[in-house]
């Protein structure tokens, strides 16, 4: 067991993946000497050289497009998008090429490309540096979309994502980069790794199910602790994978609790929470005591940072939704 920050855990996971497989490459803006603006790739270029850790020209479409080409040649590129808000220049390569090329080839081609996206707000940044664009990708068939929430998962999930033969959009909760936890980096531990696409009950409870992923998991855990004082037992599920979804685990929980609150930072309107709500309602219709409620960013662009504490779901907003749930 080692104590690692989330950023360092991904760094270690990348390092392990690069050691395990010489075809693994890192590419992106400033990933080399600088080690990325969040230092997630720190030291990798020094140890693996410029051919494997590639500082690219400043163009996201180029990053993903050339990563596809490298994957076609047998490489497993891990692309870094510097911030969530800068993934859109790469939207075309991700949506029309990365996601669709394997099907286009009738399975002859595999595209083991990972697109890492530091996401979410809460770090006092300027525009475009605090967004949660997951819904654009969950709606894009052909992609797998995952989000890590803590160091131990991050270490494991990045390696699993790299080993996956499908393209994976990998969301990293940037405001949790500096949070620490114990991580078991021993090779033996790998046998016990859960599948990349399983969700996890991170806090069991009986009264209401709260679904979260990425940065909101911790917020929801805190809310659950606070709710306990009010005598409410909140089950918190870390979804981990948004596409595919671990439907069984989620619906089992909601059938048990009869109530569900979904929490994400992205705007609620047409966000990923909508899919969760719609799907859960369909599967758990007779078990629901209240409609599935969603807590998220407002349906506006991400505001200037002086307003972000209001925009982002926090403990109080989660509790408020839990309360509303019980008002039905």
């Amino acid at each position: 067991m080692t104590t690692l920050t989330l950023a360092k855990a991904i760094n270690e996971g990348l390092r392990r993946a690069m050691e395990d497989d010489p075809k693994v490459l890192i590419m992106g803006e400033d990933v080399g000497k600088l080690g990325g603006v969040f230092r997630v790739t720190d030291g990798l270029q020094k140890d693996f050289g410029e051919l494997r850790v590639i500082d690219t020209p400043l163009a996201e479409s180029g990053i993903v497009g050339t990563a596809i080409g490298l994957a076609l040649r047998g490489y497993r590129p891990v692309c870094e998008i510097q911030f969530d808000g800068f993934v859109f220049p790469a939207a075309d390569q991700i949506i029309t090429q990365l996601a669709k090329m394997p099907l286009r080839s009738l399975g002859a081609l595999k595209l083991p490309v990972v697109v890492r996206i530091p996401c979410g707000g809460g770090i006092g940044a300027v525009e475009h540096h605090s967004e949660s664009p997951e819904a654009y990708f969950t709606h894009t068939a052909g992609l797998r979309v995952v989000a890590c929430s803590n160091p131990a998962d991050a270490y494991v999930m990045i390696q699993q994502a790299i080993r996956c033969d499908d393209p994976v959009i990998f969301f990293e909760p940037k405001r949790r980069y500096w949070e620490k936890a114990e991580v078991d980096t021993s090779p033996e531990a790998a046998a016990g790794w859960p599948d990349l696409h399983t969700a996890r009950v991170v806090r069991p409870g009986g009264d209401v199910t709260v679904l979260a992923y990425g940065p909101m998991v911790r917020t929801c855990l805190e809310a659950a602790t606070a709710a306990e004082e009010d005598g409410r037992s909140v089950e918190v599920i870390d979804l981990r994978s948004l596409n595919p979804l671990d439907t069984a685990l989620v619906t089992d929980s909601v059938r048990r609790t009869g109530r569900c609150v979904i929490v994400h930072e992205a705007p609620v309107y047409s966000g990923f929470g909508a899919e969760l709500a719609a799907r859960i309602t369909e599967s758990c219709f007779y078990h629901l005591e209240a409609p599935v409620l969603r807590v998220g960013g407002f349906s506006t662009p991400y505001p200037p940072s002086k307003l972000e504490e209001h925009y982002l779901p926090d403990l109080d907003r989660v509790l408020d939704a839990v309360d509303r749930c019980f008002a039905y």
Binding site: P57, G62, I68, R73, Q97, S105, L106, K110, T247
Partner: protein, 367 residues
């Protein structure tokens, strides 16, 4: 900063040409080619056969057997010349119009038809043929080619990538980014732009005010314009560019100056936007006619030879047609195949539901 008004008929001065429209072999200071009669006849055969496949496809579309077809008519020399310059180890990235290159890569023409018939989105194995799938989103394959070439570099392999795109594509951000990547990483890639003068209804002037081959100079690598209707010149120039790439000298942009003799696709009506004269003038520069004249003049082939090739072409056309019509429709549940390489619960769930739904109609007269 001059406006290039040379679109159309007048060959621009900087054009590499080894065979005139009249079938005369001419010299070029930088490029030459030495081909055996056998090889030259082989090129002729290629040109005739791909034109025949193309004609058959157009006919099939007219008869409702294909949803659409993008004809290569007029661009045979650009495609065969460049396609025959490739070694087996080289990798080609086409648009949706590279039927001639596909031919050079031994892709069964019927597999090309599958896509246009709507049976699949790309029916051949790109790895088997070192010929990538057709790419419809304009320009996006240029980045794939450069990435692939970066892989070649990392492998230390003796190979290059070539990527095809049109004059219209040069306006896309991706294409220009691919120039940057290729130049910064000195990637072993050849950019093969078929300037067929039109992007659907838009003439070249809507994409550039100077000749396209000059774009490369702004990115720091060589650009060259070749007579795209001259199969010798296309072969020579592409060979040289591929060799440069393989030898570590980085990318080249080749602008093959040619003409789209047909409609953009079978859905298009070019009479709405271009004058018939233009087509007539370009017909005089037909890539096949000039090679035929050359073969004939130089007694490398006689009438019997030409007739034999025509017969072969007809047989090929018939075969392609027959096998096109025999192509089975895909199974409805194929919708869920190959979306992911690994198991995906949502695919399984939707597939099961849909299978059950389909089964519910069985025996009933509905649907």
């Amino acid at each position: 900063m001059t406006i290039d008004a040379s679109r159309g008929v007048q060959a621009p001065p900087e054009l590499v040409q080894l065979l005139t429209p009249e079938g005369e072999r001419v010299e070029h200071p930088d490029y030459d080619i030495d081909l055996t009669p056998e090889e030259i006849r082989g090129l002729y055969r290629d040109l005739v056969l791909v034109r025949r496949i193309d004609l058959e496809a157009v006919a099939l579309q007219r008869q409702g057997e294909l949803g659409i077809w993008a004809s290569l008519l007029g661009q045979e020399a650009a495609q065969i010349g460049s396609g025959r310059a490739l070694t087996d180890a080289d990798m080609a990235f086409p648009t949706y119009r590279e039927h001639g290159v596909a031919w050079c890569r031994d892709v069964d023409p019927v597999k090309l038809l599958g896509l246009f018939r709507g049976v699949n989105h790309g029916g051949w194995d790109p790895v088997e043929h070192n010929f990538h799938l057709y790419t419809i989103v304009i320009g996006s394959q240029t980045l794939h080619a450069v990435g692939y070439a970066m892989g070649i570099q990392r492998d230390g392999a003796e190979a290059a990538a070539i990527v095809y795109f049109g004059d219209g594509a040069t306006s896309q951000g991706d294409v220009n980014e691919s120039f940057i990547w290729a130049s910064v990483f000195n990637a072993p890639v050849v950019f093969f732009c078929q300037n067929n003068q039109w992007a659907i209804s838009e003439p070249l002037e809507k994409q550039s005010r100077i000749p396209l081959y000059r774009r490369a100079s702004g990115f720091g690598f060589p650009g060259i314009r070749v007579d795209g209707n001259d199969v010798f010149a296309c072969l020579a120039v592409t060979r040289q560019a591929l060799r440069n790439a393989r030898e570590g000298n980085g990318p080249t942009l080749i602008e093959a100056y040619t003409y789209r003799m047909g409609a953009h696709t079978t859905s298009d009506d070019p009479t709405r936007y271009r004058v018939a004269d233009e087509l007539e003038a370009w017909k005089l520069k037909d890539p096949i006619e000039r090679l035929k004249a050359y073969l004939f003049k130089n007694q490398l082939a006689d009438q019997a030879y030409f007739e034999a090739i025509d017969a072969e072409a007809d047989a090929l056309g018939r075969d392609v047609r027959k096998r096109c019509l025999e192509m089975p429709d895909p199974d409805p549940l194929a919708i869920f195949d190959h979306v992911y390489a690994h198991r995906h619960p949502l695919m399984e769930e939707e597939r099961e539901q849909f299978a059950a739904y389909l089964a519910s109609f069985e025996g009933s007269e509905g649907r």
